[in-house]
Symmetry: C2
Subunit: 292 residues, 2 copies
Amino acid sequence: MFEQLGLIGCGLMGGSFALALKRAGLVKRVVGYSKSPTTTEKARQMGVIDLAAPSALLAVAGADIVIVAVPVSATEATLKAIKHLVTPEMLIMDVGSTKTDVVAAARTALRDQIGSFVPAHPIAGKEVAGIEHADADLYRGKQVILTPLEKTLTVHLQKAAAVWGALGAQVLHMSPERHDAAFAAVSHLPHLLAFAFINGIAAQADGADYLALGGPGFRDFSRIAASDPKVWRDILLTNRDELLAQTRHFKAALSEFEAQLEAGQGEALESLIDRANQVRAPWRLAGPRPTK
Amino acid sequence: MFEQLGLIGCGLMGGSFALALKRAGLVKRVVGYSKSPTTTEKARQMGVIDLAAPSALLAVAGADIVIVAVPVSATEATLKAIKHLVTPEMLIMDVGSTKTDVVAAARTALRDQIGSFVPAHPIAGKEVAGIEHADADLYRGKQVILTPLEKTLTVHLQKAAAVWGALGAQVLHMSPERHDAAFAAVSHLPHLLAFAFINGIAAQADGADYLALGGPGFRDFSRIAASDPKVWRDILLTNRDELLAQTRHFKAALSEFEAQLEAGQGEALESLIDRANQVRAPWRLAGPRPTK
């Protein structure tokens, strides 16, 4: 399907994309670049990339598909750095967790080449970062959101949908604004809550003792608190308006629980828990979409 | 090791204990009782119990080990119901998630037979309840906290530790008060936060659409929001003072994040995330205990 993938950012997300594309037989060559030469070299040794490029620009030279897998705050600079070699035939995607800012960065950086760009957000990840955790199966059975601009060329949007579909992902289309509102709720907020949860315990004199007693519920609930600080600083800051709106919804819901606890109202408390149970129990990963 | 187990409450926790004890060859017979005859009959058909008793009292008759696996609010009534047939040779345990209240209930109900009682809290569970999910491996590799009273007979405490150890669990001893403070932090608080998190999203007009986009991070973070409403109503209410103290710690930690988000302070935000990452990344289930 593709001759050459230009991979910019040899980390978990980008490395997994390259591995998956190779394994599916969808690309002949992968040329990779990372800011750290050690990382690029590791990606080459692991067989994630075939050739190490000395710059982002040179990773793009001759590619018919490019994936920009850098922290969201570095998107604009990266796109500016490669603009000179972008062609109308080239499909360019990112993998960022926020989309309004990525779209704005792409408009500024790519200008007349913007038609090549298809903003993408694969809903996949691990709490560990780095090329050493790259996994050809990372995107299988997961959702990938594409948030095309008005000027995105249809041919690229279709290719983007086809390539993620071929990697086993379920592809959805959405506006960048709607994407960011939704992911503030289901991704950025739980990360924020998990970080605050751990910090709130660790700040207590007996916090370390308490933490040692955590069971499977604690393990799963707090897993995302181990996420990469730089990556998540960018995501939370970039989407802070939507995120702060979500913390208000959350705090209102928490206050309801606290009020019933303080009042000792067992029935009301049970009905609040039951509401959460009724919503969460039937939920499935990449399950059926609401009909609305 | 034991002749006869009296199982009161044929649910996930009690059923799993009976299955594990049988598989380990540690008991010859299991006599079971549940409030619902349908449940007792299902437990018999599944081979979790060998004989269905028509009352809690009769489930205890002739037993040398008894496990009371009922919602914590039913502990006192259950212990009162069996008291007449409790003997000094009998080991009685519960599996409740709170301990101060269970100890108080046991003192009131068992009086001069209190020496037989070893309060136990296995840190294990599933977000699904009921005998049909009983699992002989539920306690393997998990922690079990024993919170003995001053009058608990040493022989029973040792037997209790030995039996959980034989099922593959790691056994710890703790005071009931310390237990409840610790589990308010690492278990009851995350359940409360997960319930409020789901309710806060579900209350929004677009909540159902948002929820359909949740990924693996959402899945794990919110898994415990599907927990049993009656069981968790009891736990949260019973331990509400410690729990409300923990929500205060949590809200203070959350406010720190919100302040840095509002101020757009990337460095400070990153250092808050990094603090959570440093604590959570090396954490392991039933891992090494703090030396303090």
